[in-house]
Symmetry: C2
Subunit: 209 residues, 2 copies
Amino acid sequence: MFPSSDNDVILICTSILSLSEVLNSMPLRRLKRHTLFVDVLSVKEHPRNVLLQVLPENMDVLCTHPMFGPESGKNGWKDLPLVYEKVRVRDETRCSSFLHIFESEGCRMVEMSCEEHDKVAARSQFLSHSIGRILAEMGIESTSMNTKSFETLVKLKESTTNDSFDLFSGLFIHNRFAQQELMNLEQSFEKVKQRLLKKMSEQQSLSSV
Amino acid sequence: MFPSSDNDVILICTSILSLSEVLNSMPLRRLKRHTLFVDVLSVKEHPRNVLLQVLPENMDVLCTHPMFGPESGKNGWKDLPLVYEKVRVRDETRCSSFLHIFESEGCRMVEMSCEEHDKVAARSQFLSHSIGRILAEMGIESTSMNTKSFETLVKLKESTTNDSFDLFSGLFIHNRFAQQELMNLEQSFEKVKQRLLKKMSEQQSLSSV
């Protein structure tokens, strides 16, 4: 059935981890010669590289990342970011028609390179997921005396664990900047801890005078 | 001027770190014999211990923690938690009159022991501040492709750094449960990191097959 030779556009909606396997299992020869391939993965250098490697030269490649999910997009997509790079686009009209689907829903269209996307997403999306996973690991729960800030952390934990661990590990494994951000997070944690311990030892010296 | 012998209630609004110094500098002998001392510190076992140690037996002690600040309470105090313990209250009427100030503003009145407060606050307030400080240390900023979750983290960073480092270190130094939570946070971080690294190495073995 799918993909058939009639498709103008093939939209790849796999998990990050299964992309290569899925693409390699597709009967590319039975498609139209000038098909447009679009992916929606939450990392961008990885699908760009795989698509350019696997697809024949005559097929177009558009890499996109709709930065919202069932939770954040449940009341419509207005002002939510759709990030994209026209990686190899010869048929501009067809590509524009596809992007227009998101434009007409009110998405904020952000054109940037796959590399730039991954750099920024490592610092925003991956970081949010990491903190959500750490809070889940700690088993934090709502209390009778929540501060507003803590309430947002409980929500972050919940929305993160609604996503699969495969998504989270995909964000890490296939985004080289994410690996750097995990180190940054660890180093920043250590710095904050050292500042607290230093202050504690200063206070103890003061009170023993 | 203050504190004068006329005061029925003395409200202690010092920083956590300066509490002992401030109390020890007060002319306690010039106060009414049955004054009610109330503190509003963000830790509770510490002021309870210090107040019981410093104040004469005949003075009443009410420990409170209004769990909101200039930011979260700027549109009124309705439904925001006021945690308190009547540590040593003989004059119930006067204590109730004081608590009524918060009740009449719509605060959610939460009576619990100082110990229980510190246990819960270490897991909510201190944890929020720690994560806010770590994000500040990383220098995170709003991006053109924020997810909703990341936006809440940027706000957390901003509200945390609006508070002083003295407050943050006070939450740590004078709450024995906070020290435990910092270790929990560190251990949970390590577990999440190890799970990611394990998954990455599994994926690399798979793709090299």
